[in-house]
Symmetry: C2
Subunit: 472 residues, 2 copies
Amino acid sequence: MPLKNLKDNFADWFDEIIRKADISDNRYPVKGFNILMPTGYEIWERIRTLLDQKFKVTGHKNAYFPLLIPEEFLEMESEHFSGFVPEVAWVTHRGDTPLKRKLALRPTSETCMYYMYSIWIRSHADLPLKMSNWANIIRMDTKNTKPLLRDREFLWNEAHTCHATAEEAEQQVLESMDIYGTLLDELCLSYLTLQRPPQDTFPGAIYSIAFDSPLPDGRILQSGTTHNLGQSFAKVFGIRYLDVDGNTKHVFQTCYGLSTRLIAAIIAIHGDNQGLIIPPRLAPTQIAIIPIHFKKEKKIVNQKAREVTTTLSEHFRVFLDDREQFTPGWKFNEHEMRGVPLRLEIGPRDVVQNQAVLVRRDTREKTTVALPKLPNKIREILDEISSTLLKRAQKLLHESIRDVEDLSHLETLRGFARVNWCGSDTCSETIKEYSSGGEIRGAKHGVSEKPFGQCIVCGKKNVHVVYVAQAY
Amino acid sequence: MPLKNLKDNFADWFDEIIRKADISDNRYPVKGFNILMPTGYEIWERIRTLLDQKFKVTGHKNAYFPLLIPEEFLEMESEHFSGFVPEVAWVTHRGDTPLKRKLALRPTSETCMYYMYSIWIRSHADLPLKMSNWANIIRMDTKNTKPLLRDREFLWNEAHTCHATAEEAEQQVLESMDIYGTLLDELCLSYLTLQRPPQDTFPGAIYSIAFDSPLPDGRILQSGTTHNLGQSFAKVFGIRYLDVDGNTKHVFQTCYGLSTRLIAAIIAIHGDNQGLIIPPRLAPTQIAIIPIHFKKEKKIVNQKAREVTTTLSEHFRVFLDDREQFTPGWKFNEHEMRGVPLRLEIGPRDVVQNQAVLVRRDTREKTTVALPKLPNKIREILDEISSTLLKRAQKLLHESIRDVEDLSHLETLRGFARVNWCGSDTCSETIKEYSSGGEIRGAKHGVSEKPFGQCIVCGKKNVHVVYVAQAY
């Protein structure tokens, strides 16, 4: 049963592949609460390990903060929280007993963490403070839910830092972008780093920068965000420190986060009509080893396949598929569908010639390799697969961007439209209307792009270049 | 400021050390919801890695299951859930909108997981199914909360398995006990494996076995439990499979779990009046390297300390404490308090003689070692520390057990009282009264202990040997 065509039916393809490839199951009877299945979970665990390594060398510390947030915390930060309010799930009872005050399930942990920061931070010696929380997040989104792309419960990492000066906070934003950028490269994902327009900045932040990745259906997925919070939260929560001269000052803060949505990006951007292609660094199985034989050769081929498996297991994540109830052809399809980056076939002739055949998932290219050379050759091919996937993703990004100077051309918006914008709310609203729900995602961070015309709506000349897209 | 005396003030000592050593902070203003601080969290991460390794080789798969459970699921399993009902936190609203049906925050995930199992399991080829869930758990305990020992939110792992036959489920219980037993050995913890009396068996289970560890204050901590569930949940949730002959049958199930409570056991059992002693496998820092010098020797000593740090970092988790604002004596106390298993001192004479001094946290024993021999010697000493900690814990366990034949002797119950019991509820209640809240924790699993008298309450002769203790 072939998968639905990716190009024409992305939504159907996505729903089908995440079920078949053991990524997510949406049959749990609470809307938006889905099971992150073993393959999906293992991908998340590997993302976690990659991020933790980077956090460790940059002085971040993991801790676990509470799920429940008192109502009065949210009221303290009502500006920040007003956006979350309709999505907040409230605990009101313990057994049959009403609680004296209701408690929110965390839609994000600023208030919880910053309350503790105000206790912990006393002097400049306590700064910088960089903490990270791996947690489940609950947002009772009123829009349509969709597994991984829009779950009501998802897993994420949120990092929250405090600094003595505005410059250090600014520096921290750059460090966070460097960390996320390196991580996304390792996941073979492409992205634009866009500074959100003021209308779409995280409430309480000075500015917000997002990693926006285009999916094959022409919509954009936010793969991560980072915010320079300035002192607004520090003032609300009283996060103060004594500087070297004995003066009491408010700290400067940043925060950044990414979630299991990243798995959706990985699946959508790398997958094809045969199924998933999982980047080698994330793949639960990197090599599927498949013995091929007729009855009389079974013993000798299986024996050699086991030897190869033992050797390769020292270097790679290997699965020997010697199940007898399935044909080699069935196994090829199965491991292709599941996105295993490399297949190793070994048959009677290969045993005689002391060799094996490697088949790449991404290009389907076949290579015959002498057994002693396998580990080095495989390492080389896995690296090539990573770089091919990254190049494809970059090509997808590149092709998804086009310059648009005429409002009516926004009507068929796919990917990013690069437009000139005067900065006004009115024109932003008009862009939204014309692009059927598209929105200004922001201007490129750290680059001043030269305008190529007048405001796409009002025709004013004082404009800057922004990217418009429909987002998940 | 010395810590409170462990032996005389265990409760105070525990509260103080978990705060000072960065394990848990209870100043968050929701009762029983505490912060698992970086050192505590890192210990949990290492426990997680150790357990995941054992799960992997025994065919368990991790997945993530939803936090929220529909009320009707709990009603389906009312026998099982009646114990949890007063402790359940209920979500009743999304924003200002009441939900059509209220949703429970998981106090455990049987109902959630078994609903999905009934969808996933179709035939004998789907069995055995062994899944594990790393999750936060909410139980709004009405008793006094206490960080790590009795949190209202805690982190845990729960594994849930399905099997074709009762024998395989029985076998799985043994496998789970082997896994937990090996893990607890690695954590240097001692325990009795006690089969709970029928009065205290997990509702719905055929039998429950717990790992009970005595703490220095004479109370017992349950470090893990495993349950043979038989077919009771399978029948409620309709978890059926087609066997090889085409007959539809209910599966047999087991489940087992352990939580961040384990961290409390590690702290309480290994700690002393100087602070924590963290077993080498779990320690965030295994070796604290402390250069000791007067001003003129500073450069040469620090240089050598950095070299040693670089070499040892390849093999161990090392922290070079070359902070200038603290004296060596202060650093000794600090790293002792934090439980770093090994200290390495290096001074001017050591540089000349190309050596360093190692000081064990557990015995305070000092050894001078030539630098080239350091890695091997350290490996050896860390193993010795592990085995010393385990032996101490076993001694604590051994000394905590005494035979009691007279009810009045239960009044001063500390540790385990070994008693003869007829099995009746009445006598169980009497034991509870006499032991001021102590309870029958069960009989040794897998061993038939010979009675040494008559029922401690009613004097009946048909008795078995059980262990009575006060538990956390």
